[in-house]
């Protein structure tokens, strides 16, 4: 390797001073830095220099141990000399090849899609299995008590009616084969209206409003209960938590520091992605309920009817609002119950 001579700027350590210099890069003697009066300002062995990795066409920054910083233009000769005397950066080569850049532009969307569509939900299922029972139980208790202190009030259904429902459900649960101990409770809630929800430890809460809406038909209420049991059996709460965590971290790092409006847009896409997960889980719970109805020798139509009744209490849906909702559209759930047959 022959020696090269280039002009550059030398910043001696310790102050903001800058000297116009000539930099001699030699094979045997390392770096020699000479000022305009042809005096040696600094010299160093190649082992005493630290070079910032090559980055596109930005000037090369070479730190001379305890002496200063020298900056020279990134020419081919300079880059070659620096590459042979320090670790060349492979990433810079990838960045300067048209082929790899094009390849990356194709692969990034493909990988991102696969990441959100398969990797995150897949690892969420794994994660859900590793959450200890005690934690699930604490989480459920805390959530219920927080809800009791906010939007839920005591039920106004009399004890006798409650007991008759409990007996019926106990009968249903004993027929389907599930390991979880279920605890079904009634609550009144203006905020939630006709609704039911399951906590991961097997506590299922049914609102007075729901009982009022479909309570006269026990089969409908049982269909809803089976849907909630589906959520518990498939550990949906834990999967949703881990999916939400993974998504928000991924969105934060892949689309970090976008600033203002774009960040708002990233927030919306985060919501859309998470709602896709959540809708997928609702489908799982629906199909669980439908297959259990078959097992019990009950009619799938009960589920369809229950959804129909619920749909009447809700505002009409549109395609846009569907993106912003955690549940699939009622109509598609009704269609699913009526059309789908077990393979």
């Amino acid at each position: 390797m022959s020696s090269i001579e280039v002009t550059g700027k030398f910043y001696p350590t310790g102050r903001s001073q800058c000297l116009p210099v000539t930099v001699l890069m030699t094979a045997s003697e390392g770096l020699r830095i000479v000022n305009q009066s042809n005096e040696l300002v600094a010299k160093t062995d190649v082992s005493q220099i630290q070079v910032a990795e090559k980055l596109a066409s930005v000037p090369r920054e070479i730190s001379l141990y305890e002496q200063g910083l020298v900056v020279v233009d990134s020419t081919h000769a300079v880059d070659t000399w620096l590459a042979s005397n320090s670790l060349q950066n492979k990433v810079s080569r990838l960045e300067s090849s048209k082929f790899t850049v094009l390849l990356c532009a194709v692969l990034v969307p493909v990988f991102l899609f696969a990441f959100f569509k398969y990797l995150i939900p897949g690892s969420a299922i794994l994660f859900a299995d590793y959450v200890p029972e005690s934690l699930v139980s604490i989480a459920s208790k805390h959530t219920l008590s927080a809800l009791d202190n906010s939007i839920l009030s005591d039920t106004s259904i009399d004890e006798e009616t409650q007991n008759s429902y409990q007996d019926m459900w106990h009968d249903v649960i004993s027929k389907i084969d599930v390991p979880t101990q279920f605890d079904i409770q009634f609550r009144q809630s203006d905020t939630m209206g006709a609704n039911a929800f399951a906590l991961p430890n097997g506590t299922i809460v049914i609102t007075d409003e729901l009982v009022e809406l479909i309570g006269d038909n026990h089969d409908l209420l049982t269909a809803i209960l089976l849907h909630e049991i589906g959520h518990v059996e498939h550990k949906h709460s834990m999967r949703l938590i881990s999916e939400a965590l993974a998504t928000s971290i991924a969105v934060n790092y892949f689309f970090a520091d976008l600033g203002g409006l774009v960040e708002f847009f990233a927030g919306v896409s985060n919501t859309v992605v998470q709602n896709q997960f959540s809708q997928k889980l609702e489908w799982e719970a629906d199909n669980y309920a439908l297959s259990k109805l078959d097992e019990l020798g009950m009619d799938r139509e009960s589920f369809a009817k229950a959804m129909q009744k619920l749909a009447e209490t809700l505002p009409k849906e549109s395609k846009l609002t569907l993106l912003l909702q955690s549940h699939p559209s009622m109509q598609s759930r009704i269609d699913n119950a009526r059309d789908k047959h077990l393979d």
Binding site: Y11, L112, P315
Partner: protein, 397 residues
């Protein structure tokens, strides 16, 4: 010691020699050495007189970044980040930042970004672990969530200080690092106490609080041994803040007249499609309000901040960005990102940096050559990364 030896010394070696001469050395020897130092061609005072540099000059901020170049860097590093499940993101951050710092030039000298990827990776892992435990604890128990929120509230000013400190320490110009010296106590006052108290003034005092925040951030920045100082005016913050609020309200009022919707329409209606249309119009108005109001505020305050900041004897700044420029920049950036599904990101970042550079001028003063570096303990990336994980960010103009 023989004086002849000194003739072969480099300027730095001479300075070192002068420092190591004890007071017992003969006065003659000291005088001789000082004479050599004073006459040395590398002595800054000789540099200034030998060059015909004017004492003070106003120069533009130049940005040399190119969209094509940065696109290549961005997309390759994004792919590497994805396939390494995020681990490479620390290296990607350094390369992206270096591209912008090293392509920004003032008065013939470029900025440098000095962070080490490993340093960022460590901070990022700690940040993610903290965020993950926060997220899980909050998901498992609403009560834990409340407690963590309180802890975060107390930690928030600390994270901001650490984050600013890291950002400044990693920035160098002319081989001299910036630094940030803000302390927790004052940060707690300006970031937590004053904003909470402004609620009791129905947010009317908020512009004054914003001024206090900016003073805290900028007055604590140093460049080597020199301090940045600002002379900000409360009046300007009130004009910017109240102006932005007024513009926002005016647009909402106009939109509800012109487009014929009211907030009552946002409640669910029986007709699904009408709901969607109203919703879309509302979102559009909302975006317009954020865009125009925030641009009005940001442009005015940036100009005010730059025009009233000086680094003593080193530099003064001018910024003359117009509200219209900023609105156009932000709205076209937003459209480009959405329509290109994110692929326009590099273009957006480059043109943003180019615009900000083009509206900024720096007056270089006589002492710019003689800023001394100031040693301070190195700064870790932990605060910065924890702040990022929790989406706490303080932008510096």
């Amino acid at each position: 010691m023989d004086n002849k030896n000194y003739q072969n010394f480099s300027f730095n070696e001479l300075l070192n020699a002068r420092q190591s001469l004890s007071s017992e050395a003969s006065p003659q020897e000291i005088a001789d050495l000082e004479a050599i130092i004073n006459g040395h061609p590398n002595n800054p005072s000789n540099q200034i007189s030998s060059n015909t540099t004017p004492v003070s000059r106003t120069v533009p901020v130049q940005f040399f970044g190119k969209t094509g170049e940065f696109f290549s860097i961005w997309i390759v590093n994004l792919l590497l980040t994805i396939v390494t499940l995020g681990i490479y993101s620390a290296w990607a951050t350094v390369r992206n930042n270096r591209y912008f710092y090293s392509n920004t030039e003032i008065d013939g000298h470029r900025f440098a970004y000095l962070a080490e990827p490993i340093q960022i990776l460590k901070g990022r892992i700690i940040g993610l672990l903290l965020f993950g435990s926060y997220f899980l604890a909050a998901s498992f128990s609403p009560f834990a969530a409340v407690i963590i929120m309180l802890v975060l509230l107390v930690a928030y000013p600390l994270l901001i200080c650490m984050s600013l400190r890291f950002k400044m320490r990693m920035t160098a110009y002319r081989n001299v690092r910036f630094n940030f010296n803000g302390k927790y106590g004052r940060a707690f006052v300006v970031f937590i106490l004053l904003p909470v108290m402004s609620i009791f003034t129905l947010y009317l005092a908020l512009p004054w609080v914003m001024k206090k925040v900016d003073e805290f951030i900028y007055d604590n920045i140093t460049f080597g041994d020199k301090k940045l100082s600002t002379k900000l005016e409360t009046g300007e913050y009130f004009i910017a803040g109240l102006g932005a609020a007024f513009i926002g309200i005016a647009i909402f009022a106009l939109a509800s007249f012109g487009l014929g919707f009211s907030f009552a329409d946002l409640a669910p209606t029986e007709e699904g499609n009408a709901f969607t249309l109203t919703y879309a119009l509302f979102m559009l108005t909302y975006v317009a309000v954020i865009l125009i109001s925030s641009s009005f505020y940001a442009a005015r305050i940036r100009n005010h901040l730059f025009n009233n900041s000086v680094i003593d004897d080193v530099s003064e700044f001018t910024s003359e960005i117009s509200v219209a420029q900023l609105i156009w920049l932000r709205s076209s950036n937003f459209m480009a990102i959405v329509l290109s599904l994110g692929f326009a990101m590099p273009w957006v970042k480059i043109r943003t940096a180019r615009l900000y550079a083009s509206v900024t001028h720096v007056t270089v003063l006589a002492g710019a050559d003689s800023v001394l570096t100031k040693d301070s303990q190195s700064s870790s990336a932990i605060g910065e990364e924890v702040a990022n994980a929790f989406d706490i960010d303080v932008a510096i103009g």
